[in-house]
Symmetry: C2
Subunit: 340 residues, 2 copies
């Protein structure tokens, strides 16, 4: 570890890729050698890390020689294609895409929750869907207070979940509306600025979109609760980079006291309680943006069910919802290897 690691980022030009660089610096991640990889389109572009300019290269099957840790954040098909090569080259791979999340042999990890899912020989760890991570950061600690029967969730998801391109789309559309100029071309079925829409992923025969199916499947896998009941609606709102979710947790028995809920959340790593009723200050995506912690507030009894409590949670989609969670996974696995 002293000499540092050779680190690769696949998807280095993306919104999450750029957060990796910021986090490596902030967290003193032991980078000795940095390999910034992206699609052919970005070949030759540059990116700066700790004052040094790095050239971006096309990610290919032979890009991973001598790489110690590879972070993938370039979509599921790119991961399916290249992760096997990175593993063969001996790298520890932390994959932000959905490519391997449903594979029962691949751990799907939020370090605060289920780091123990990473076995000693595991060299590939999947980072969960952003909405699932942010939800479970608030939900998991409350398992100390009772057995959870059902989650009811509505999301207020930001543009960053659709990548740098969708953030730009929201900003460009907003700018066009403010200036009275023509709207830019859009891949969406509706305008995004001053609007919201059901999550723009394909809908299956049951009527659920991919994002909702991920939240359901991944919550069960991460919590090791294969029968957990999950009611979820995923909606995208005109916010730039943090997701918010309204959450109801139904317990099998009576709901825990709000004092216990607050106290457990306040002592949970990665969680900050923002619950000022008199000042009307609760989690907002703006306050959550750039923060490592997810913010939890509006903690209250569900008036329609004595076994349930409600709250809202906001978390930075690019940080805890993606890059930060990935770096935390790498740090934990590397620390264990250093000890072991």
């Amino acid at each position: 570890m002293n000499k540092g690691l050779s680190v690769a980022i696949v998807g280095a030009t993306g919104a999450v890729g750029q957060e990796f660089l910021r986090l490596f610096d902030l967290r003193d991640f032991p980078v000795r050698d940095l390999r910034l990889l992206a699609s052919k389109r970005s070949e030759g572009k540059t990116s700066t890390f700790k004052g040094v300019e790095y050239t971006i290269h096309e990610a290919k099957s032979d890009s991973f020689e001598n790489v110690d840790v590879a972070f993938f954040s370039a979509g599921a098909s790119r991961s399916r294609e290249l992760v096997p090569h990175a593993l063969k080259a001996g790298a520890l791979v932390v994959d932000n895409s959905s490519a391997f999340r449903t594979d029962p042999n691949i751990p799907l990890v939020v370090p605060e929750i289920n780091l123990d899912a990473v076995g000693a020989s595991d060299r590939l760890v999947a980072v969960p869907n952003c909405s699932a991570i942010i939800l479970l950061m608030a939900v998991n600690p409350l398992r100390k207070l009772g057995t959870i029967d059902r989650l009811i969730v509505s999301t207020y998801q930001s543009a960053s979940g659709g990548g740098a391109g969708m953030m730009r789309l929201l900003e460009d559309e907003t700018k066009a509306l403010v200036l009275g100029t023509e709207l830019p071309p859009s891949p969406l079925s509706t305008r995004y600025a001053y609007n919201l829409f059901s999550h723009n992923t394909p809908i299956d025969d049951s009527g659920y979109n991919e994002e909702e199916s991920k939240v359901i499947f991944e919550s069960r896998k991460i919590l090791s609760m294969p029968e957990l009941k999950v009611n979820v609606t995923c909606v995208r709102v005109p916010v730039l980079r943090a997701h918010t979710e309204t959450v109801t947790i139904e317990f099998e028995g009576d709901a825990p006291s709000l004092e216990d809920v607050r106290s457990v959340l306040e002592s949970s790593p990665g969680v900050r309680v923002v619950d000022d009723r008199s000042g009307n200050r609760f989690p907002t995506p703006l306050d959550a943006s750039g923060q490592d912690n997810v913010l939890v507030g509006r903690i209250r009894q569900d008036l329609s069910n004595p076994k349930a409590i409600c709250f809202m949670v906001s978390g930075d989609q690019l940080l805890k919802g993606a890059a930060l969670n990935a770096v935390q996974i790498a740090e934990a696995v590397l620390a264990r290897e250093a000890v072991g």
Copy 2:
């Protein structure tokens, strides 16, 4: 009716007030004489209706002489002060504020749902909260298919619910961010542009804000279901004028089939089903803006409860959520008087 009516609008300069004028024109509301009233601040301003310019006067206790119908949309304290004078002057009063909604002697009416709540001698009718109206327009028709036990609702509320001032705040903040200028002063505890926040009404001891308490109380009153269970979280999003809500309805027995739900909603006046799974087109606030109908889509089984279905609804807060509902009430009561 032939000679038309003397009509007063209290709150004529507000966002809802302006919609009254547009609706009178569109619907041929029989206006013979128009009295535009507002706060002292607006005395002397003008507003145009059918090509004629009307001067706005301060609303006072003696403003209602010979008025046949008075529409109030200037807040609860103004209504509490002036509605008694309008009634004494003999006007039919339709009040958009919350002043009289909880009074068991005052009907709280969505015409498609409970027009029968208006008794022959009733001269004051309250218009429900906008979020409650939009919710119940989609919920009420489904009572044909089973007994409803519980509603679970998260709102995505637009700026217009906070009046013309809040719409301007959202636009001004957005403009400042686009142009890189200083943010305008704001009465909110957080920035609104590219952000969202728990509804900015006071929170009571149970942890619920006023908007949520209204949705709970008013749903029960309008549906005449005093024991209805309601789980609700009200959130404001950076959208200009239509509200969206994610809704789960839990029935006492098994959930009705989705075909039955669609078919009942498609034949319900004031409702339009927008539910294109393959094209990923569902209700959006942009599509609902300026529309009389509320839009319902994402109709699906709740995967966590066989007794429940889920959907989302979008409705124009200024129209069905306020001015349109008020004009419909007046039309129905006047038509009944004309017959009776």
